[in-house]
Symmetry: C2
Subunit: 396 residues, 2 copies
């Protein structure tokens, strides 16, 4: 087990109707003026925004609103939020939405907390925020884990760059999780969320390290739960227990509980970022789903026993002691079959990725030759191209 | 899944030699004067106290020391600590020890934070602390989970009362966990810790609730890990990985992660508190070990499937679908055999408990007829006596 720090100070408030408590919770902390930050029309149409503002009004808490956050939240939108908060004297950013809205809120919080710095600098690794406005969350999508994490990813459209960084300053103070709010999430977005949650744990599980039995058992248990709940939510969108399992797993999957004592490098996430960077129409979860089986088959012989452990402990497959590789590959196949069963793509062909773009994606993923990605197999440009190529040919 | 709140703001710093970072960590927070609170001679003899004070000195941090905390930490000792902190202007209580030292430190922190209230009132449920001095921890024993929990148990020797309460005010700000510091813990105390850690999860696992698959998988994974690590640590006290698994499991086992979405009532803990209250020579872990198998056999028919799940998922036993009770009982037997294998008692007879004391313990456990304990089976005086009686006859 490697040394680690674990710090998850976000207060998680989980259960039915919990969004209605938001006024009381905000008042308890003593905040006076809230930025209610949200995405598109669905939060309005569902009545959720009215519930939130009613709850704030009932406690006499002032608020301003800023909607319109889209997938891949932009720096421009965050800057609009920063200016609004400064103008209005906001003391809490309340994200009502999924990962995009939460990340936009985190960026706003950092911007307001550090008025003398261009907030984009933090995403370029130039300096770190010293403080930030507190962030609260009402979660409407089980996927990113941003509601309990220190991470934040923002797209600078002018520069065509998507960048992320971690900071304790913007980790949410509290997050309100009502699984019922995800009943209306589409089949496709539910599938994307299921894949994203699994991937946050799989990237850690297939990182480097040993002697992490507790972390392994937690990771395997989370994966088993998400597989079952993902299947159920796909068929029964209003199944509370399935939605609840996905939502809680989403938070635990990216707060690092499932990676403690191990090293990990998020290879598949990095490969996917270039993919959806090149093709903004590709949803993050769909990109991960299309890449993972090919990535896994490519790196598998670097740690056959680890993939066999995954097959046995997550998929309940029998261990082939004579030929562990068979077990390892069966676990990857089971994952691929599951992704397909919930309507997720498992090849880049399904996503209409053009073969001639592969080299460009690989070049970008090496940051123009400046890095390789460590892991079970180290990925440089050539290896990345092979993974993309395999993912393009998959299913043929 | 029942609604829940989950809040674990303690910063956990885990790994080799981490105690040497304590000066830097304390300085980072800006504390000026530390109470170094500890137990007996072992912290001195091992050189740990010197390491701690050297690390503080190296950062120019002033400190005072108060040692002598014993198992079942007393109100008198805590009051001495409160007076010392007030006199010396202490702004951080640093617990160097196990659960007893941590709980004593929490009580001191509450006392200093609320100078107008007798701190014992909080333990009697009369009022709650408004604030507290921050508490830091350097852990030397894997057992209580107090290093990441809001709970605190103190004994008022004058009144012959042992009482506990939970408060976010005294939850540790940071905890430093170096598994190497537990190499010198005796076989018996290691066994007691192993049982205590398991019990914190078992009490939750055998509480009331359903549809908690993620919580269940985490609980089962923790139990499997602790069983294996407990076995190894019993044979190889200086096995880092086993000590590390026990230490991390100890923290996760009582921060509520393994009980989220369920109701639980700590029946075995309540029964044990009367036992070690009556016989202070009985260690908490030994009392739990002596009671649990009998408690489990007594309540088992109230939820046979849950006990069968435990047998299959924790002990890898085959499910007897024709007679699930056989599987359930086999799981209890496996637990009992494990306790024995690490030198822990599994009957009250081994602990020289007198049969004539049973009624008195049961009466006290009902708080003199004022309560019953909810659970798989509701325990009133008569039922408690039956459990004690079974535990007395066990192994005959």
């Amino acid at each position: 087990m490697l040394d680690f720090e674990f710090y998850t100070p976000t207060r998680m408030i989980f259960g039915k109707d919990t969004q209605k408590q938001v006024g009381k919770i905000v008042k308890e902390y003593g905040f006076k003026k809230v930025l209610v930050h949200f995405g598109g029309a669905s939060a309005k149409k569902s009545g959720l925004l009215d519930q939130v503002t009613d709850a704030l009004k009932a406690e006499g808490i002032d608020y301003v609103m800023l909607g319109g956050v889209q997938a891949n939240p932009t720096l421009a939108m965050a800057k609009e939020g920063i200016a609004l908060c400064q103008r209005e004297g906001v003391d809490l950013v309340l994200a009502v939405g999924g990962g995009s809205v939460i990340d936009s809120s985190k960026c706003i919080a950092d911007g307001v907390g550090n008025p003398d710095t261009d907030v984009w600098n933090f995403f370029l690794g130039q300096g770190a925020p010293k403080k930030a406005l507190p962030v609260g969350v009402i979660l409407t999508l089980s996927a990113s884990g941003s509601e309990m994490s220190a991470s934040c990813v923002i797209t600078n459209e002018e520069q065509g760059l998507k960048r992320g960084f971690n900071s304790v300053t913007h980790r949410p103070l509290f997050s309100i999780l009502n699984p019922e709010l995800t009943y209306t999430v589409s089949k496709f977005q539910t599938g994307c969320g299921t894949v994203d949650i699994m991937m946050h744990t799989l990237e850690r599980y297939f990182g480097l390290g040993q002697d992490t039995p507790l972390t392994d058992r937690i990771a395997e248990g989370l994966l088993k739960t998400v597989i079952e709940a993902g299947r159920t939510a796909d068929k029964e969108p209003e199944n509370y227990e399935a939605r609840a399992s996905l939502m809680w797993a989403g938070s635990l999957s990216h707060n690092n509980l499932t990676g403690l004592g191990r090293n990990f490098f998020m290879q598949v996430h990095q490969l996917e970022h270039e993919l959806s960077g090149m093709y903004p129409r590709i949803a993050h979860g769909a990109g991960l789903s299309a890449l993972w089986p090919s990535w896994a088959r490519y790196v598998c012989d670097g740690n056959v026993n680890r993939f066999a452990q995954y097959a046995v402990n997550v998929w309940n497959l029998d261990m082939n002691f004579e030929d562990p590789m068979k077990t390892a590959l069966a676990g990857i196949q089971a994952t691929e079959d599951f992704f397909k069963s919930i309507g997720m793509p498992t090849s880049l062909k399904e996503l209409d990725v053009e073969p001639e773009k592969i080299e460009e994606m690989a070049v970008k993923c090496t940051n123009y030759g400046k890095r390789t990605l460590p892991g079970i197999k180290v990925l440089g440009k050539a290896e990345m191209m092979e993974v993309y190529q395999l993912a393009l040919q998959a299913g043929n």
